[in-house]
Amino acid sequence: MSKEITGTTWTVYDANTLTQNEIYGRVLCELGEKHPEIVGLSADLAKSTKIGIFQEKFPNRFINVGIAEQNMFGIAAGMARTGLLPFVSTMAVFASMRAAEQVRTDICYQNLNVKIIATHGGVSFGPAGTTHHATEDIAIMRSFANMTVIVPADGIETANAVRAAVDWPGPVYIRTGRGFEPNYYTTEDYGFKIGKSVEIREGTDITIIAMGITVLQAAEASDFLKKNLGLSIRVINMHTIKPLDEEAIMKAVTETRRIITFEEHNIVGGLGTAVADVIAQSGKGCAFTKVGFPDVYSEVGYPEDLYAYYKLDANGIIEKVQEVMQKDFEEDENWDDEF
């Protein structure tokens, strides 16, 4: 049994014994004590999404609408209009597609204070197959005006993100995995701030921009390549996809001249696309590659096998980074001739 979590500091023990979504459930309980306006909603996935932990503690502040995601997000909008702060949890694939119009029109258009904790993001529910994979959700959610999009690296960052979302105005979409993902962080005191990325490895040869489960893998790849090939690889944990930390991206463009993005998402419209937008609009070129699902529907399998197959694990990252290191581009100090 894991011990009760008190205060705001996570111990290594907690991090290693609780899954990402269990941590979410517990943090929501802790927030529920301080914020009587917080209510929880789920669509027959209270157990799977771990919002059920909140339900156990605050049974009168929890609504299960049955298997009806459209109704759930509409109800959340109505509740927010009466001054409540709804936390809504279902699988990312249903939050972003089955109820996309309710999220867009009822919540984002009205700019309501609804927090969506979308679990089972990417291929984290691997064996369930494409119907339960969410590989388009970031693209969809970041195209909704007023929406903030966060993909925490692990359970500890999820705790930080959920806490930060309470004080962040307007709708927030937080995408987590299934809950069995290993942690990168061992403490939550690293200065998490919505919209501000975290440089977890310094480097000058190339920058890896990662989100979600690829953060830990990128760190491991960076360490491996430094030790074995002497490569200096910067790793950025881009936990907030919107608003995007453009400053960190431009710093990488000018300082490392090579950028590679890793995301558990279709390469169309997600993290890589968002980063590419920033680079393209700056007029300053650099070697650039985005890695994710190459515009395909993902295969069935255990997540770790799928991450390996789609080059999102440490081995895949090592391989892709070396490819980008070979990429040819005009690498001079004079930006002027590139306009």
Binding site: N71, G74, M79, A80
Partner: protein
Amino acid sequence: MALTNDEYIRLMETAKKLRHEMVNITMEAGGAHIGGGLSALDIMVVLYFKYLNIDPAHPDDPDRDRFVLSKGHAAIAYAPVLAERGFFGKKLLDDFNKFKSPFGMHPDANKINGCDASTGSLGHGLSIATGMALGARLQGKKFRTYCMVGDGELNEGSNWEAAMSGAHFKLANLTVFVDRNMHMIDGPVEKIMGLEPLDEKWKAFGWQVIQINGNDVKQIADAIETAQKATEKPVVIIAKTVKGYGVDFMENQTAWHYGSLDSELAEKAHQSIDKVYAAMGA
């Protein structure tokens, strides 16, 4: 009888005045969903001028009653109702549909004082209203939530998710009007995608059903007072209405779901409205 004679006369005068205004706005705006606006108007008049616990001086009062116009295209009726009730000046309606106006075909709650929800995409409002009714209960508040859906709108499956949940959560503080005007864009509702037996459907979903003539302010008032006494079930008022009510050449005409008026046609509409109300002694 829920209404005194004075109240009845006042509500009839308000409805008549607003029908004239709707005709004018439709002409100036270059077009509007006037058919479904005219069918829905009387219900909104009775709610806003008799029953809703609201104060235009405090439009954000957390204890106010709520109204969600799920058939958002009836904004052509809703906006003049809110203006007449004192939420904003009538002058604002001159720019209906125009560049950067707060008033388009569908209401935007963040731009319109007194509007409780942005609507327009059909099948959304009943869930929002359900959330408001739940919000009242969870916060121990006494306010009531009213919602109006179109009959064609009930083709959208999300309404029935909401209907299921309203009964499941025993939301007696929620009242829904179905503006049963029998017409949708492509033709008669029963021909395009039939709803009958509509009362049986709602009953099967666990709702208390009241059926009225939805253009008769007395019947509307009686139904609301019955709904306010509900203790266990949410109430649906299936309001049989006439699409285009009050303007003879629009009545029961599918084509007048959306239409525009030139000054000549508008004049005919004004005359028809006067005639209809004169016949009712108003």
